[in-house]
């Protein structure tokens, strides 16, 4: 067997480290009851290929060495599928990039010398727990109020794939189901409305035959819980759709409005 030969010409690429020096302005808040404030942190040695969360990891390493309290922020999978990371970066949920979560955001989106504001997702329904960590339990309670289908599990469960579903509907239901419930829609909306999240969860079932059985109760209960949590009203600015890391469409909100009106009439 011939030895593996690479055709990649390393001389074409500049592998010199491009260190970035940045000024971070981060919201620090000791606990839910404390009054928070923006604290400035200069940071050096950041490489463009680092992820945003790696940059925060480096900051926290430095804070530990100095004996200071680290910056608390949410994260889990770090590959854009769990919906755990958040952060309002330079005035946008998940930062300036499109269709990515904060964990998929890279420092190459910023320039050497930049000042970066890092704040928690802001909404009355998302109270700050500490620093950049907010309680998104409101989404869980909305989901629990109707974001499910009841399935017989007594041993004779029928495979969902045995029910024919038009591809168009299946695709749209799947698109809605890609919502990871991160809360970027609420954070981006000037009214802190959760309509895009709730609409995605309503749509993903409303489009499928399995979801039709409980469709009336689902939309009424989920909207009722959404209102009870203290989210604002949607005014169709479209900010949520632009900032959503999964590209959930406003079409879902229109569908939820139709579902809600129709369910209200059925009562």
């Amino acid at each position: 067997m011939a030895p593996c030969q690479s055709t990649f010409d390393f001389r074409l690429y500049d592998f010199k480290t491009q260190n970035m020096k940045l000024t971070l302005k981060i919201w620090r808040q000791k606990d839910a009851k404390a009054t928070g404030k923006i604290v400035e942190y200069p940071i050096d040695g950041i490489e463009p290929d680092m992820s945003f969360l790696e940059m925060l990891d480096i900051l926290n390493d430095e804070l530990i060495v100095k004996g200071e309290d680290t910056v608390a922020f949410d994260h889990d999978c770090r590959e854009g599928i769990c919906g755990m990371c958040s952060l309002y970066i330079n005035g946008e949920a998940h930062g300036p990039d499109r269709l990515v979560t904060t964990c998929q955001l890279h420092m190459r989106k910023f320039k050497d010398g930049d000042t970066i504001f890092i704040e928690p997702f802001r909404a009355k329904a998302f109270p700050v727990i500490k620093d950049l960590v907010v309680d998104r339990g409101a989404f869980d309670r909305i989901q629990q109020s109707g974001g499910f289908v009841s399935v017989n599990t007594s041993g004779n469960t029928i495979d969902a794939n045995t029910i024919p579903i038009p591809k168009h509907d299946a695709d749209r239901a799947f698109d809605a189901a890609t919502c990871i419930g991160c809360g970027a829609c609420v954070a981006s909306c000037k009214n802190s409305s959760a309509m895009l999240f709730v609409a995605a969860k309503v749509s993903q079932f409303a489009l499928l035959p399995q979801g039709k059985v409980e469709a009336t109760d689902r939309v009424l209960n989920m909207v009722s819980q959404m209102d009870a949590e203290g989210f604002g009203n949607c005014t169709n600015t479209g900010a949520c759709e632009v900032e959503c890391p999964k590209g959930i469409s406003l079409e879902n909100i229109a569908r939820m409005n139709r579902e809600y009106l129709s369910a209200s009439l059925k009562g």
């Binding site: 330079n90 604002g232 009203n233 169709n236």
Partner: protein
Amino acid sequence: MAKSALLKSSIAKKVAMALSGLFLILFLAQHFFINSTSVFSPDTFNSISHFMGNNPLVQFVIQPILIVGVVFHFVMGIVLEIKNNSARPISYAKNNGAANSTWASRNMIITGLVVLAFIVLHFYDFWVPEMVYKYVEVNPLDENRYFAELTHKFVSPVRTAIYCVSFVLLSLHLWHGFNSSFQSVGFNNKYSKSLHTLGYAFAIVVPFGFIFIALFHYFNH
């Protein structure tokens, strides 16, 4: 679902806001049509105005519905704005709204309040004198007074300027409001793109048409 719960729900408020807005858009379209006749034919303008001002259906059914629609739209708009503001008690230190939405969509309350102030002035200019003329002083019917009353208001450069600025703000309000209304009532399908074009065209043609009418009478009085 209890009726009270439906009335309190966020979606019901959205729909009510949208329907009242669409009703006002229809009113605006007919008002623009009537006013535009004043540019081409004072006689036509006089006869349509006389019909609108003396037809019992228009005066005692449609006009009260219109006034209720206007009052409902702005009261509900202010109520929703207060509720929406309370949904975010602490604002962002840095917020880049322009990155994801239009200025018009984020500032409906500002454009709306300017339009409301304009409506008050417009009532003071035309509706109140009309009511006094017909129902307080009980003057004899004069089918030819409307064109003169209209042009008389556009002698003042200040008033003409106020009208023109208000129409620009109305244009911005419609730029978002027209299409937003359809989204709120659940209309989002393959025809939406065409509807959006129609909405943007309406938001430009009607307010700037009103500006043209105001300037036409200002320069031709």
